[in-house]
Structure formats: structure tokens, C-alpha cells
């Protein structure tokens, strides 16, 4: 019998979406070209080579090491790419993903990544081409709604603010805007204006966002109604508490 990871408890749509994000088996909703991705990330000029911090591993003459032999380097590591980042901000108003579920998706499904999780943003550092692979994956799939999620390298404020009148998550730098029903990127993730406008496609409707979100909300899928999830949180809490208490040792 082949083991299949279950990833997450719960019977609600939110729990189901969480399972999907962790498993990486998510629906692709849009196409982002490599050049467009490069432009909005803002790390290098589209079409240029990846800057490197060391020669390709094959030319390095590395010492013998059983671990090195066991672990296949990522493409970015093989080539000696520099470390770069991608940082997402996801609205609290039914954005499809959240910082922790972006991190889980990254850590479970990609290698050579260093995800960092905060309340308002989620940053992943990795070799540049490896980072681009996961950034493209998350941008193109149901993990992202272009109106309710945004690449923000700096000035990340906005995830918990009320939405703008047009349903776009507030951004003090207005990196994206709604234009003729689609989301147009006009600044890279740090906030520098870009020469070419990048079209990220249509925002999710309110109904679609509510269906695809991984956030429990009282006006959609209330947290308190997902009994199994609460039960598992309690279980984790209880076991960690008892591990520190070690009553058996005291007896």
C-alpha cells in the first residue's frame, strides 16, 4: 500500500483548501510569462543571465562527502545562483492563501528554500532560479488572487486593512491597480516603477475567493464549526504541555 500524506484535518472547504495547498495539487488559473515574472520580482533585467556567487558545482572540485552524494543539488545551487527572495502579502479578506500555508506549500513541495512567516507577509529566500520556480507556481495557481494577494518586497502594510472600493487590497505604494477588470502591475515588488505593465488577470469574484480561501472567517466558514481542527489544535497543545511537564519523571 502506498502511503498518501493527509496533511490536514477538518471537513470544511477551508480545511480541504489547506490540504490542497500543502499537497501542491492546486489548480492552475493563469499564465505568467518568464519575462513578466522577472519584471515584477525586480531582481534582474529580463533576458539576462542569472548572476552567480560561485562557479557551477561541477567545476568546484568539492571534497568527497556522502551527504553531497545523496542529495541532488537544485538547479540554482548547481549553477551557483545568488540568493534572492519573493515576498507575498495576502489579505485577511478571503485571500486564497496565508503566510503559514504559503510556507507549508513551499517547504513541502520545493527544495533549497528558506520560508519565513509573519502575520502580514511571507518571504522565501532561495537560489534565484529556484525561487522563480516557486514564485511562478504560487502566482499562477489558485493559491493567489491578484487582487487579494500581492508581491511586496517592502512597505508590506495592508493585509488587515479594509479593501479598497474596487475590492483590491490596499497598498500604500499602489503596485497594482484594477484596470478594465484585470489587475495590472505597475511597480515591481519593492515599489520601483516598471517600464512594461504586467497583466495578472482577473480578480476572483467574492464567491470564488470565499470558496478557495484557506482562512476561517465567521462570515464564510466559521472556525468554531470545524470541530476536528479545534480538536487537533487541542491535541498538539496538550501533548506539548505534557512533554514539558513530564509527570512520569516526577512520579
Amino acid at each position: 500500500m502506498t502511503y498518501e500524506a493527509q496533511f490536514y484535518p477538518g471537513a470544511t472547504s477551508v480545511a480541504e483548501n489547506r490540504r490542497k495547498h500543502m499537497s501542491g495539487k492546486v489548480e492552475k488559473l493563469r499564465e505568467i510569462s518568464d519575462d513578466d515574472l522577472t519584471i515584477i520580482l525586480g531582481h534582474r533585467v529580463p533576458g539576462t543571465d542569472y548572476p552567480s556567487t560561485h562557479p557551477p558545482l561541477a567545476e568546484m572540485g568539492e571534497p568527497e562527502c556522502s551527504i553531497r552524494e545523496m542529495v541532488e543539488p537544485t538547479d540554482g545551487a548547481k549553477a551557483g545562483d545568488r540568493i534572492r527572495y519573493v515576498q507575498f502579502v495576502d489579505s485577511m479578506y478571503n485571500a486564497p492563501s496565508t503566510p503559514y500555508f504559503r510556507s507549508y506549500n513551499t517547504a513541502i513541495n520545493f527544495r533549497g528554500v528558506d520560508p519565513g512567516t509573519l502575520s502580514g507577509r511571507q518571504v522565501v529566500e532561495a537560489r534565484e532560479r529556484d525561487m522563480e520556480e516557486l514564485a511562478k507556481f504560487q502566482l499562477e495557481t489558485e493559491m493567489t488572487c491578484p487582487a487579494l494577494a500581492c508581491l511586496r518586497g517592502a512597505s508590506v502594510h495592508g493585509h488587515s486593512l479594509r479593501l479598497q472600493e474596487d475590492g483590491v487590497m490596499f497598498d500604500m505604494l499602489e503596485r497594482v491597480r484594477l484596470e478594465n477588470g484585470t489587475i495590472i502591475v505597475q511597480k515591481d515588488q519593492v515599489g520601483r516603477p516598471i517600464d512594461k505593465k504586467v497583466d495578472l488577470g482577473k480578480p476572483m469574484s467574492d464567491e470564488e475567493a470565499a470558496k478557495r480561501t484557506t482562512i476561517y472567517r465567521v462570515d464564510n466558514v466559521p472556525y468554531r464549526e470545524d470541530k476536528e481542527v479545534l480538536e487537533w489544535v487541542h491535541r498538539v497543545f496538550e501533548q506539548r504541555t505534557m512533554y514539558g511537564y513530564k509527570p512520569a519523571v516526577q512520579e
Binding site: T98, H157, L163, E165, G244, K246
Partner: protein, 573 residues
């Protein structure tokens, strides 16, 4: 139950988020609206920012060197693009203040609160009296003690005794400096001149006075407060140094001792080391802080410094919330925000816990829930407490957290007000932790509720706070009841320097409240140290420790009169 309740924050948020303030443009709307127009007015919508902008410009012109300029961000895009709104001070609905004025640099009351703690030490008199009586056969009587206290109230602010031709401090610069005494010995207390006595019977409800006097017994203690200006210029360690020097001189003068005799050394030692209680313990060398610096003030000590429990003992939730305010300001804004990080942002994290009645609403909801379900367990008392089992902690923390999370979901302005996870994590956990304490009378049970709240919060919203404290919040349950010596401290003895708390921004006020809540819930006269509780039961202190949040509001409104001002010795303008 949750849906029938009048939210305490509703009125505050309606004023804050649906009305215009100064040049602030706010749509009417409703506090449940999920969308609003953003005018992107930047700093020009806020009167305090405008004042600061003008002053910054004037300073730059005057000195010919660039200074404060709020248009510096991103080449001219002002910070404050969303609505910059003032805040109400929780528990004081008429106090609406600018958020900038809750930074301790802009708030004289906040500075004074910390000054009043740092410049205080408690010095025992019994060892000194034994030295006088047994070694020198000098008779100590209430009369001699009164005389000594008169001498010391001259010497402690910097007046010379014994020495001739000494320079002295100007009394008008140090008029906040004084010493009083207290004792559990009723007979002695009766003989002490009223001006010198902190009268426990007068300051505390009878039940609390009995507890305190029983704890203190027939011992006698000096509550010494050195000048604010001295403390500010030096450090917390100066409090005992300064006090010991003046106490030594005053003993010599009052009891006619020989300034060179060996007993003087014993008196000095007792005044500086042996019989001294600092407000904050010394930190490990790597943090390089003296005693009486905020990192060493345990949560139990801060709970005792705050005096709400003696003036409002029948509302233990209120006691707890006042400690939240004091703790957020001292530990988060001053200690973590400045001593530990050197930053500015920590104030913003912390004020969430004592503004706009959001935390207050959550905790009072919890009190109702506990009283309904556990037969009045959140009311003041000992016999009404519920045993702190895992099931009880799970129940109370879960209900408290779900209620708080639902408020953020139902009221988008509450979420916008607490726009960072650090703020939400603090507020939700402070409510859950304090509720656990109030219900059980056990601070470690409250702490356990705090950590469950963190887990529930993270899981519900898929996010929590920031790198710096998410780790500690997720491993904290493991050390709540640990017996490992450095991990399993009773909560009252933990403090901001406890290993897992050393960088938990925004959390420390909540931690302190958990300690306060357990004892306020039981109706105890003190949480950890009866001496500290009595020492701060003194209306002569410039800062009113019975209502710290109101004092912060007065500071923000520029109504607070601090000590240690230097107008006397600087050119008049």
C-alpha cells in the same frame, strides 16, 4: 451569548473610523464595512503629524541640517496613506489621543512611571537598628526614628549632613525625592509621625491590610525614592548607591555616631546590599544592566507596583487590564523597544492592548462566560475558583480566542486598528491568559491559556505575529509547567529576561497581567512582594499607579506634570 453582547469597542471605533478628525477625511460608513475609499492623504490628515512636519522644517532651516521630514519614504510617498486616526484610552472613554503621543518620548507620564519605578528602592531598618542597639548601645525609639526620617528627608534629595562645606542639590530640582516608612507593627506605626508613614490600614481595604501586615510582621522598611533627575542622568543601580550614601550619613547625624567608626560600614552594607529590595533584579552580564532596570522587573513585581487592586479590588478584570497597560508601556515600549532593540515601532504594537477597549471587551466577555459556566469563578474570591485542569484551560482559552477572532472578522475596523499580527496575538492571548488566571487563581494556568490561544489564533487565520516571537509562542506550552529549573519558573517570578520572553515584543504587558489576574481574582493583597505593594501605595508619587492607563492619557493630552524638570537651571525662553 457572543452575538447578544454589546461590544465595548463599538462606540470607540465608530468615532475613530467613521468620523473626521482634524483634516482627516473619513467616509461615514459602518464599522462592519469591508470596503472603503482610501483618500491617500498621507500625514496631512493628522494634526500631530502636521505639527511635527512644521517643527521638523523649522529645525532644518534653523540649523542648516536636514531633519524630520515625513515625505522621505520612497522618494516622496508619505507614510500614513490610510486614515491616520487617534485612539481612545481603554477604560477612559473621554480620553482620545494621538497615537504619536503614546510614544514614551512624547509622553511625560510614561517617562514618569518608569522614573518612579527605577528611582525606588526599599531598605530594611531592622538590621540598622540592631547594629545601633547591640554594637553601640544606642537606644532606638519612635522619637529617634522620627528624627532620623527628618534628617533623611533633608539628605536624600542631596542636602548635606555631617559634612561641612559641601555642595548640595537645589531643593526645587529634587522635590520629588523623599522617604517614608512602613511596618506591620501597629504599635510602632502609631508612634511614627504621619508625614513619614505609609499607613497600611489607611491605604488598603481591611482584608488586604491584614494580609500585608501579617506578611510584613514586626519588620520596618523605608520606601526611598531618589530624585528623578538623578535616576535619569545615571542608571537604576544609582538608586541603591544614592540611597545607601544618604542613609549612612543620616544615621551618623541622627544618632550622633562617629563618622569613622566600624559600625558605619555595617550600616552602609545593610543599606546597600543586605536589607535592600530593588524593583528589578540585576540581569546577566551579557545584557549589562544594573539592578532597577526594566529587564529585571519581574511580572509579579510589576503587578505589585500597579495599585489598582487596592482601589478597585472588586473588579479583578480591571486590575488586570491596568497591569496590561503599565506592562506594555514599560516592558514593550521602553525595555524591548529601546533598551533591547533601539527601535521605534514597538510602541505601535503595544498600544493596541490599552486603546479602544478591544482587549477590555474580550476580557469582560470572558468574565461573563466564566461566571456563567463556572459559577462565578471570575469574581473575587478563593473558594469560588475552578481547579486548573487541562479541560478548564482548553475551554476558557478556546472560547476567549474564538470570540476575539470573530470580532476581528465581524468588525473590519477592529482588524484595521490592530493591523499587525503582533497586536492581535498580544490582545487575544492577554485576554485568554488573564481569563485563565481570573478563573483559577493560578498564574501558570493563565499562562497555559495564553499559549493555547496562540495555537488557536495561528491555526484559524493561518498567520500569527512575526519571526521574533512566533517561535517562542509555539514552544511556550512546553515550559509552562516544566520542572526544569530555568524553564519552569512560577509565572510571578518570570520577567522580560526569562529566556523565551527576551524578545517577545508586545507580549510582556499581557504576561504581567496574567500574574496580576491570578491574585486579583483571588482577592490577594499582593502578587509576589508585599513590601513593593505597600511602597507604591503612596499618593505623593508623581505618577498615579492606581490608574496607569489614565495617566498615559493625561500624558498624551499634555496634562501630566512630571518631576525632574530643569527649567530652573536653563535659560528662560
Amino acid at each position: 451569548m457572543a452575538d447578544d453582547r454589546k461590544r465595548m469597542f463599538q462606540k470607540d471605533l465608530e468615532v475613530k473610523f467613521t468620523k473626521e478628525h482634524g483634516t482627516n477625511k473619513m467616509e461615514g460608513g459602518d464599522i462592519t464595512d469591508m470596503r472603503i475609499p482610501y483618500y491617500r492623504l498621507g500625514v496631512d490628515q493628522n494634526p500631530r503629524k502636521l505639527e511635527m512636519k512644521k517643527v521638523g522644517k523649522d529645525i532644518a532651516e534653523k540649523r542648516g541640517l536636514a531633519g524630520y521630514n515625513p515625505m522621505m519614504h520612497c522618494g516622496g510617498i508619505p507614510l500614513g496613506q490610510r486614515a491616520l486616526t487617534p485612539s481612545f484610552i481603554s477604560g477612559n472613554d473621554d480620553m482620545m489621543v494621538e497615537n504619536d503621543d503614546l510614544h514614551y518620548v512624547n509622553n511625560a507620564a510614561m517617562q514618569q512611571m518608569w522614573d518612579d519605578i527605577r528611582r525606588t528602592c526599599i531598605v530594611g531598618m531592622d538590621m540598622a537598628h540592631e547594629t545601633l542597639e547591640k554594637r553601640l548601645s544606642i537606644e532606638v525609639t519612635p522619637e529617634t526614628i522620627n528624627h532620623y526620617l527628618e534628617v533623611l528627608n533633608h539628605a536624600l534629595p542631596g542636602g548635606a549632613v555631617v559634612q561641612e562645606h559641601m555642595v548640595e542639590s537645589h531643593p526645587a530640582l529634587v522635590d520629588d525625592c523623599y522617604v517614608k516608612i512602613f511596618t506591620g507593627d501597629d504599635e510602632l506605626a502609631d508612634e511614627i509621625d504621619d508625614q513619614f508613614l505609609i499607613d497600611i490600614d489607611k491605604q488598603f481595604p481591611a482584608e488586604q491590610a491584614e494580609q500585608l501586615k501579617a506578611s510584613i510582621g514586626n519588620t520596618t522598611w523605608q520606601a526611598a525614592h531618589i530624585p528623578t533627575i538623578v535616576s535619569r542622568t545615571t542608571d537604576g543601580g544609582q538608586t541603591t548607591r544614592w540611597t545607601a550614601m544618604q542613609i549612612g550619613m543620616s544615621y551618623i547625624a541622627a544618632y550622633g555616631m562617629c563618622a569613622g567608626e566600624a559600625a558605619v560600614a555595617d550600616l552602609s552594607y545593610a543599606a546597600k546590599h543586605a536589607g535592600v529590595v530593588n524593583m528589578g533584579d540585576m540581569l546577566p552580564a551579557r545584557r549589562a544592566r544594573a539592578p532597577n532596570e526594566p529587564g529585571g522587573v519581574t511580572f509579579g513585581n510589576l503587578s505589585d507596583i500597579v495599585q489598582t487592586s487596592r482601589v478597585n479590588p472588586d473588579d479583578p478584570a480591571n486590575v488586570t487590564l491596568e497591569v496590561v497597560g503599565a506592562g506594555c508601556m514599560l516592558y514593550d515600549q521602553i525595555w524591548l523597544g529601546s533598551y533591547m532593540s533601539g527601535g521605534v515601532g514597538f510602541t505601535q504594537y503595544s498600544t493596541a492592548a490599552y486603546t479602544n477597549n478591544i482587549l477590555d471587551d474580550n476580557l469582560y466577555y470572558d468574565v461573563e462566560y466564566i461566571n456563567d459556566k463556572y459559577d462565578g469563578a471570575a469574581e473575587k474570591g478563593i473558594d469560588n475558583k475552578v481547579a486548573p485542569s487541562m479541560d478548564v484551560i482548553k475551554d476558557i482559552a478556546t472560547e476567549s480566542t474564538l470570540y476575539g477572532l470573530e470580532n476581528y472578522e465581524k468588525y473590519p475596523v477592529a482588524l484595521e486598528d490592530h493591523f499587525g499580527g503582533s497586536q492581535r496575538a498580544t490582545v487575544l492571548s492577554a485576554a485568554a491568559g488573564s481569563a485563565g488566571s481570573l478563573a483559577t487563581g493560578n498564574a501558570n494556568a493563565g499562562l497555559s491559556a495564553w499559549y493555547l490561544c496562540m495555537y488557536l489564533h495561528k491555526e484559524g487565520h493561518g498567520r500569527l505575529g512575526f519571526f521574533g516571537f512566533d517561535l517562542q509562542d509555539q514552544c511556550g506550552a512546553t515550559n509552562t509547567f516544566s520542572y526544569q529549573s530555568d524553564e519552569g519558573l512560577p509565572h510571578e517570578l518570570r520577567g522580560p529576561n526569562y529566556p523565551n520572553y527576551a524578545m517577545n515584543v508586545g507580549h510582556q504587558g499581557g504576561y504581567a497581567a496574567i500574574a496580576a489576574g491570578a491574585h486579583a481574582g483571588r482577592g490577594d493583597a499582593y502578587a509576589l512582594n508585599p513590601l513593593i505593594k505597600v511602597c507604591f501605595a503612596d499618593e505623593m508619587l508623581p505618577f498615579d499607579f492606581s490608574q496607569p492607563r489614565k495617566e498615559f492619557g493625561r500624558g498624551a493630552l499634555r496634562e501630566f506634570e512630571p518631576a525632574g524638570e530643569r527649567s530652573l537651571i536653563i535659560p528662560a525662553k
